[in-house]
């Protein structure tokens, strides 16, 4: 399962409305709730927050990759939120974060979870692609960017 296969318009939100970290996490989880990907919102929020308390997943260059293993999902699941104005996600460079990849996986799917995180890490390394994502103005536009021409 590749990231491109996990990304669909129903799991992408542009723009995110939240401005602070706890609200961003909740808004990302709400995307998955609305898409029918999870059925226990509070359990997921708690799992993601618990992971974030150990170390922030706010990376450099405006990207954040909150993630967690949780029984609240049956399969590997991703949500992508874009905040053109950015928000403070305790990023390592102290700069606002703009792209948020929320990745959830059941505890027994470490292999696929690792592969998906690895894909996101590579995407994060592509400044040009991240710039395109950051400038996207709709979920449809984001999905198009992930798809082959």
């Amino acid at each position: 399962m590749t990231i491109a296969e996990l990304i669909s318009t129903e799991v992408v939100k542009v723009p995110l409305e939240s401005k602070v970290k706890p609200d961003v996490i909740r808004e990302l989880v709400q995307i998955l709730m609305d898409a029918g990907k999870i059925n226990d919102m509070e359990a997921v929020v708690e799992a993601v927050n618990t992971r974030e308390e150990l170390a922030s997943t706010g990376l450099e260059a405006g990207i954040a990759v909150p993630h967690a293993k949780t029984d609240a999902v049956n399969d590997l699941t991703v949500a992508l939120g874009i905040s053109p104005d950015g928000c403070d996600f305790d990023a390592m460079d102290g700069q606002p974060s703009h792209l948020f990849f929320l990745l959830l996986a059941p505890p027994d799917q470490s292999g696929p979870h690792l592969a998906a995180l690895s894909d996101i890490a590579k995407i994060a390394g592509s400044r040009s692609f991240c710039k395109l994502l950051r400038n996207a103005r709709s979920a449809e536009e984001v999905v198009e960017l992930f798809l082959e021409d």
Binding site: T2, P112, S118, A121, S126, E148
Partner: protein, 161 residues
């Protein structure tokens, strides 16, 4: 003379790789070829995620332990799939980058066929670039069989005496 003498099947825990294992077991039974199943604990990805600071150290170690447990679980499963069909299978768990570990095993073991599960439907040029198993497919010196149609394979495996 059998067209293949040594088969390597790559297992990554996906349903597609288990289907590939079923196919490889059938092929081994039909041809008498030696069969080995390999699982790669992707420590390269673990290291990359630590460097990218998506993981912190303890998290990396936790995932490594999870992957080791996955390797044992899936290889044990494949071992059982072969055993019930009277096929002898060797299992190997190695660590490193998926592409490189498969390539090393194929070369060192002098396999003449690599069997892999159906690759994800490519929807993005980026995925094509990133897919580790696809890299292995391109780089190994032996023939590669990509197993598709899980229902057909299951029927073939089930009917194997």
């Amino acid at each position: 003379m059998s067209p293949v003498k040594k088969i390597l099947v790559y297992i990554d825990g996906t349903e597609q790789s288990i289907t590939a294992a079923q196919y490889a077991i059938c092929l081994s039974k039909f041809t008498g070829a030696e069969l080995t199943a390999q699982y790669v604990i992707n420590t390269k990805a673990l290291d990359d995620l630590l460097k990218a600071r998506i993981f912190f150290k303890q998290e990396q170690e936790e995932y490594a332990r999870d992957l080791e447990a996955d390797a044992k679980r899936y290889l044990d499963h494949v071992l059982e799939l072969a055993r019930v069909k009277g096929v002898v299978i060797d299992t190997k768990s190695t660590s490193g980058s998926v592409n490189q570990e498969i390539l090393n095993e194929v070369k060192d073991g002098r396999y003449d066929l690599l069997v892999i599960g159906e690759l994800s439907r490519t929807r993005s040029r980026r995925d094509e670039f990133y897919n580790e198993v696809e890299r292995a497919l391109r780089s190994v010196p032996c023939s590669v069989l990509v197993v598709k149609d899980d229902e057909h394979v299951w029927q073939m495996y089930s009917s194997l005496i």
